[in-house]
Subunit: 310 residues, 2 copies
């Protein structure tokens, strides 16, 4: 008796290591959640996972007297949202995967494809730290670094090419990057880069979060690596702020877990760099690692003809 | 008999060294032109110049059976176009000058105030090199470096703060910049910086155009300075292209006079840097040093309720 049920959507964030999924209601709340390791069997494996996830979360929705009206999926990389195609997803090893069509065939639901960070930016704008903000930047710093350039309340897209702020050049002759360039922001200030740079100097293979903890505890090597990472983030964000003058910068992704240990020096040094330029407000994201998944839910709701009102 | 006359606007580009003005017709053509050295008597002096220019060009218009319907003025710096105020113009030494009101009082014409480079970008889009282009960048490289970020056919403004691409940080510990920062693009790749850097190494106080000529003639020091300037432009433009993925970059300002000597290596090295990112088309501006003035004319026409159709 579907007519007695309220609608919901199924939202899925396909990451390089985990697939996070949730039932998202009309207010943007994640009702039922699950997370599984990303299939190692390529796009086919992930499409099969999407099918199993849709089945399981549909049952979870029915148990709450809700019926899924659509599926939103977000993926990192270069996503052609209009075409529903993952053009290039480096850390999934995908190229030109028509994920929307494949997922619709497997699940029987209308599917919307999006980009994980742009969707995350939209989620923060609709439900989180940047509600009601004017033009701003959502920068996700995790394994990689990518941005959602929020203009007029929407992520700026350019066919999936916009927002690759992780590849702003910091050291022209620096470390080689997956993009083919050298010395990109991502090679110096991503969570992965912070862990690698610390390991190179200390010999200790620890996570970026552990580097942050050791820096906070006063360990000199960790503090130096952390300081350098903040410095290069400041250079990249200053360039962005001189060009686009955002009113707000939201820092998300795993590294944002460091909170004020990251944000306070970032604000101070950014203000120094900006000189005559207007200093944006700099805050941490509110939705944490659920941002991309909630963003997928917002895209699915939009495709179903309804905007989420929190 | 004004009713027999066709309309025109008076367009003025107030630069640090010269004030360029023209009568601009409904098709965006500059009919009568004049140029005078910028008054050294501050904003009052420039307002008086605007009055004299308006008088002279009104006579020139009448002689062609045209009547000015408005005055467009563009100025470098941070311009609050909505308020009609020059908030900060470093190379004019102005701060918080209500130029629109002052010019209206002096000339009796409706006045529109704009930013020289944003107006130049609009002129290139309407009349020049970027006619009909999608989202793109107009970068003016002259005494300083500034950009018009063209989104949806309009310069992105942010209350006058957007487009300060000259202050993207290239060398964090580099030469001090007028903005208060260090190692900005403008300190390394503006026409002024190229002349200065060449003089520092050669002892010869020549213009950037002369440095270009000497580089083309094979002089090693000039070639090295030129090469370095292109390299830092590439770093800044790559960062812009990774973030905003423009379909086109138009290079204007005095340095664009070097033509392919600038553009060819810029294209080659930018393509190298961009890796997986889409490479924009890179062209020189078409309107030359008249871009700002024509842009001022477009703004004045728009304020008069008519868009220019070339």
């Amino acid at each position: 008796m579907a007519s007695d049920r309220s609608g919901c959507v199924i939202a899925v964030d396909v990451g390089g290591t985990a697939v996070k999924a949730a039932v998202v209601d009309r207010h943007g709340t994640a009702i039922a959640r699950l997370s599984v390791p990303t299939s190692r069997d390529g796009a086919d494996g992930v499409v099969e996972q999407l099918g199993l996830i849709a089945d399981e979360l549909t049952h979870a929705a029915h148990a709450r007297l809700m019926t899924p009206v659509g599926l939103g999926v977000v993926v990192p990389g270069r996503i052609d949202e209009a075409a529903g195609v993952v053009a290039l997803a480096g850390n999934l090893g995908w190229r030109d995967v028509p994920l929307r069509a494949l997922a619709e065939k497997r699940t029987g639901l209308p599917v919307t494809l999006g980009h994980d960070v742009r969707a995350g930016g939209l989620a923060e704008f609709t439900l989180g730290s940047s509600r009601g903000a004017g033009d701003h930047l959502f920068l996700a710093i995790g394994t990689g670094v990518a941005g959602a350039i929020m203009l007029g309340g929407e992520p700026y897209d350019r066919g999936g090419y916009a927002g690759e702020i992780g590849h702003v050049v910091i050291e022209p002759d620096g470390v080689e990057c997956g993009c083919g360039g050298r010395g990109c922001l991502e090679t110096m200030a991503s969570a992965g880069a912070i862990a690698r740079r610390y390991a190179e100097r200390s010999g200790a293979p620890v996570t970026a979060a552990e580097v942050a903890a050791r820096a906070a505890a006063g360990e000199a090597t960790a503090a130096a690596v952390w300081h350098e990472a903040v410095d290069v983030l400041v250079i990249a964000l200053a360039g962005y702020a001189f060009a686009l003058a955002p009113e707000l910068i939201v820092i998300g992704g795993g590294l944002a877990g460091a909170g004020e240990q990251l944000l306070a020096p970032l604000r101070d040094r950014l203000a120094d760099r900006l000189g005559f330029q207007r200093m944006p407000t700099v805050v941490g994201a509110e939705l944490g690692e659920l941002a991309g998944c909630l963003g997928a839910g917002l895209l699915a709701w939009r495709a179903a003809g309804r905007e989420v009102r929190p």
